[in-house]
């Protein structure tokens, strides 16, 4: 046994594992970000009955890559008279914090079936007991990225944008935190995994015991969810709360003076925080990785393959329409792969190990599905809703969301007390 393996079997291995996990997650998330932009543009285009990106690759599938290249190779201009340090710090701050918040999100119930040099491989980077608090701390710091960017640009519009956004984020952070307290009361824990586990099982034998509808040990959190989601949208400066970057008034808001990759950082930060928020919604209110159906309905375990196989077949069919290499080869290949995976999972009915795999991916499948739904919701909102006026924004934040969420806390607390009473 050589020294490397010994090192790896010691807790050095833990660090290595963590590092690998981080790298993996970064890769995935960044890719997802890239395709999220594509997805967004497509959906909005459909809503506005346009075609959307379709030049670069079929369905513009290579558009994100093109954008990335553009970001990289554009001239990195720095306006004069800026505070260099802060100017550079801001985008880093934004991106780092946005990505860091993903570290505490658990993507699956149980660790991978194999060990990494004797270290168990969980589906999260870290799972602190105060996971939610950590998340909130990170979001709390998230303000600086935008505020400092706005200030450092040494220009009117960014300054105003920064001021607006910092005010907005600080205000909505309150109601966001408040609206979650209900869930915390019901779960009696800050740990995200605990919160999810509390939501497992069914009520009335058929409905999933998700916080949003479940009375179990408390009060259903539909109000809390609405408050949370609205303030989360505001927190991520998305439509209809994207005043910090209100084009019509502030050119491009706090990142007016940022170009090329620094701009990309803000961009990625925004989309990453979208992902974080979506997963939070899924975890806190929609039962995380818990299936929509009762565990006894084993049929539903084959839902993934039921989705994957047709989708893969469609991709093959669609790809064959193209004359390009890409169309002729890659798309069908991709489709075949997807369909194949689906088929394998389906084969789990007869083959025991595959069955285990199928069982194993249930959790991640459901969680990712929910996250996807909320991301779609984001896009949907962007496609439909007009932007608020600033005073309206503040009124909603302080006079509507905050009181409502506080009321929600009180009611929930009362119910929890009532339930826990002997």
């Amino acid at each position: 046994m050589n020294s490397v393996t010994t090192f790896l079997t010691q807790d050095g291995g833990f660090w290595v594992l963590t590092f690998i996990k981080i790298a993996l997650l970064l890769f995935i998330v960044l890719t997802v970000n890239a395709y999220l932009t594509w997805f967004e543009r497509k959906v909005v285009a459909l809503m506005q009955s346009r075609v959307g990106p379709h030049r670069v690759g079929p369905h513009g599938l290579l558009q994100p890559a093109a954008d990335g290249l553009k970001f990289l190779f554009k001239e990195d201009a720095m306006p004069g008279g800026v505070d260099k340090f802060v100017y550079l710090l801001a985008p880093f701050l934004a991106l780092t914090l946005a990505l860091a918040s993903l570290a505490v999100i658990p993507f699956g119930p149980n660790p991978l079936p194999f060990k990494f040099f004797g270290h168990q491989v969980d589906l999260f980077i870290s799972n602190p007991d105060i996971g939610l608090l950590v998340l909130f701390s990170i979001t709390a710091l998230g303000v600086y990225g935008i505020a400092l960017a706005g200030w450092a640009s040494n220009s009117k519009y960014p300054l105003l944008g920064g001021l607006r956004s910092s005010a907005q984020m600080v205000s909505y952070e309150l109601s966001m935190t408040m609206s979650v307290v209900g869930v915390l009361l019901m779960a009696n824990s800050f740990s995200l995994t605990d919160i999810i586990q509390k939501q497992s099982g069914t009520i009335a034998g058929i409905l999933p015991a998700w916080n949003i509808i479940s009375f179990r040990g408390g009060f259903f959190q539909i109000v809390g969810f609405l408050c949370f989601f609205i303030s989360a949208i505001a927190e991520t400066n998305r439509v209809p709360f994207d005043l910090p970057e209100a084009e019509s008034e502030l050119v491009a808001g706090f990142h007016t003076e940022y170009s090329s990759f620094k701009f990309a950082m803000f961009f990625i930060a925004e989309y990453t925080s979208m992902i974080t928020v979506s997963s939070l919604c899924a975890i806190l209110f929609f039962g995380g990785w818990n299936s929509l159906f009762p565990a006894t309905w084993t049929v539903t375990h084959y839902l993934p393959s039921a989705i994957l196989i047709p989708f893969g077949l469609w991709v093959i069919a669609d790809g064959l329409k193209y004359e390009t290499v890409f169309g002729k080869l890659i798309l069908p290949g991709l489709g075949a792969a997807i369909a194949g995976i689906g088929a394998l999972l389906l084969a789990g009915i007869w083959i025991a190990p595959l069955h285990d795999v199928n069982e194993y991916i249930q959790g991640p499948f459901w969680l990712l599905g929910k996250i996807f739904f909320f991301l779609f919701f984001y896009v949907w909102a962007r496609g439909t809703l007009p932007r608020f006026r600033y005073d309206q924004l503040m009124n909603i934040g302080w006079k509507l969301l905050l009181p409502v969420s506080i009321a929600n806390v009180i009611v929930t607390a009362a119910f929890v007390l009532f339930r826990s009473a002997p």
Binding site: D83, V86, V143, A147, L148, L163, S166, F190
Partner: protein, 168 residues
């Protein structure tokens, strides 16, 4: 040298550097940033001591609210670098030595009296969080309510202070 010690020294160095740069930086924003650094590293220290809840609150409230307020105000008032004036002498030659003496004195006292206290930390995060909340609502319930009242008063005071004077 246990990993805890290493982490401690890292964070301690970070915080001291932050504090120093708070003094040395000319521009308020930079001072604010360095103060944020101090606070975050202090939060790290709290984590090290197993006071997870306090650490989180430290970051959320200090980092996420108070310092944001500072930055916000700095931006609002568009504060520039601070300019030198004749009065700086007094501070430099009067205040600086005194403050340093204060530091030394404190440190000495701490060392001496600290010798008595032994370190028996039991990092038990969630339990401590629960216990803290228990304490807050049992032993310290009156102070707790009082602080809520204090905050109310502070809010009103801030409003009264900050509102633009009415154009009669």
């Amino acid at each position: 040298m246990s990993p805890e010690l290493i982490v401690f020294f890292l964070l301690a160095a970070l915080s001291v550097i932050g504090a120093l740069s708070l003094i040395l930086q000319k521009h308020p924003i930079h001072s604010a940033l360095s103060l944020i650094v101090v606070m975050v590293s202090l939060a790290g220290l709290y984590l090290l001591m197993g006071a997870e809840f306090v650490a989180a609150v430290q970051i959320i409230v200090y980092g996420g609210a108070i310092m944001v307020l500072f930055v916000f105000v700095i931006m609002l008032l568009n504060a520039g670098k601070e300019e030198h004036t004749d009065f700086s002498k007094l501070a430099k030659f009067g205040g600086l030595p005194l403050a340093l003496a204060l530091t030394g004195l404190l440190a000495a006292a701490m060392i001496h009296n600290g010798a008595s206290v032994s370190n028996n930390a039991t990092p038990d995060a969630l339990a401590s969080t629960t216990k803290i909340s228990m304490l807050l609502f049992s032993t310290f319930v009156y102070p707790f309510e009082l602080t809520s009242f204090l905050i109310l008063v502070a809010i009103m005071g801030a409003l009264v202070l900050a509102q633009r004077e009415k154009k009669a």
